[in-house]
C-alpha cells in the first residue's frame, strides 16, 4: 500500500516528531508508515486524514 504522508508532511513543513506528537504515536510509527514498513489501522489512518484535512483515500492507495 502506498501513501503520501511524507508529501503532506512536507507541504505543511512539519517534522516526523511533530506529526507523531499531534496524532499521539511514536516517531518510529511515522517513519515505518512513510517507508511502507507498517500499515496503520483504520483509526490511525482516520486520525492522519483528519490532521491533514484530506480523505483516507487521498493519503493511502493500493
Amino acid at each position: 500500500m502506498k501513501n503520501s504522508i511524507r508529501v503532506e508532511r512536507a507541504r505543511l513543513r512539519i517534522s516526523q516528531q511533530e506529526l507523531a506528537d499531534a496524532i499521539c504515536v511514536t516517531r518510529q510509527t511515522i517513519y515505518a508508515i512513510e517507508n511502507d514498513k507498517f500499515i496503520p489501522s483504520t483509526e490511525l489512518a482516520l486520525r492522519m486524514s483528519a490532521y491533514f484535512g484530506k480523505t483516507v483515500n487521498d493519503l493511502f492507495s493500493l
Binding site: C24, V25, T26, Q28, T29, Y31, S41
Partner: protein
C-alpha cells in the same frame, strides 16, 4: 489530539514503571548468581543451607525481571510497537521450537551412538524448553527491533 478508548487497548501490559523494576532485578541477578556460586564453590560466606534458598531467589528474580521487562508498556505504547511485539513473539516461538526439536534430536542421537556430551545437550534441551529462556529471547528480539527502528527514524528529518 485526545486519546480515544481504542488507543488505550494494551490492558494486558503492566505500567511502564514496572520496566525499571525489571531492569533493576535483571542487574541484581548476576550479583545474586555470584553469591550463589561462591557458596557452591566452598567459599562459605553464608551457610550452605542458604544456597538452595539463594538459587530459588535467583530463579524468582530472573523470572520476575523477564516478566516485568517483557510485559510492561513502553513510555509511549502505540500500535506499531504492538506489531513489533507480535512479530517478536512469533520469531521467538519459531526459534524456541527449532532449538528444542534440534536439541531433543541431538540428545537421542548422542545416546543412540554413545557419543559423549549427552548431559550437556540434555541441559541445553532443558534451557530451550523453559519459558524464561523464551521470555529473555523475546526481550532481546523486541529490544533489537525497537533499537533498529529508533536509529533508522533518528536518521530521518
Amino acid at each position: 489530539m485526545r486519546k480515544t478508548k481504542a488507543m488505550n487497548k494494551t490492558t494486558y501490559l503492566l505500567p511502564h514503571s514496572f520496566q525499571r523494576i525489571g531492569w533493576a532485578l535483571l542487574i541484581a541477578c548476576p550479583v545474586l548468581l555470584g553469591l550463589v556460586l561462591l557458596v557452591f564453590n566452598g567459599i562459605k560466606l553464608i551457610p550452605q543451607s542458604y544456597s538452595h534458598f539463594g538459587t530459588l531467589v535467583l530463579y524468582i528474580a530472573a523470572s520476575l525481571s523477564a516478566l516485568f521487562v517483557g510485559l510492561s508498556e513502553e513510555k509511549q505504547e502505540d500500535e506499531f510497537i504492538q506489531s513489533l511485539r507480535l512479530r517478536s513473539i512469533a520469531n521467538t516461538a519459531w526459534i524456541c521450537f527449532i532449538l528444542m526439536i534440534v536439541s531433543a534430536m541431538a540428545v537421542d542421537i548422542c545416546q543412540a551412538f554413545g557419543i559423549s556430551g549427552t548431559n550437556a545437550l540434555r541441559y541445553c534441551y532443558r534451557v530451550f524448553d523453559s519459558i524464561i529462556f523464551a521470555f529473555f529471547l523475546y526481550i532481546v528480539i523486541f529490544r533489537f527491533r525497537l533499537y533498529k527502528y529508533r536509529k533508522e527514524a533518528g536518521n530521518e528529518e
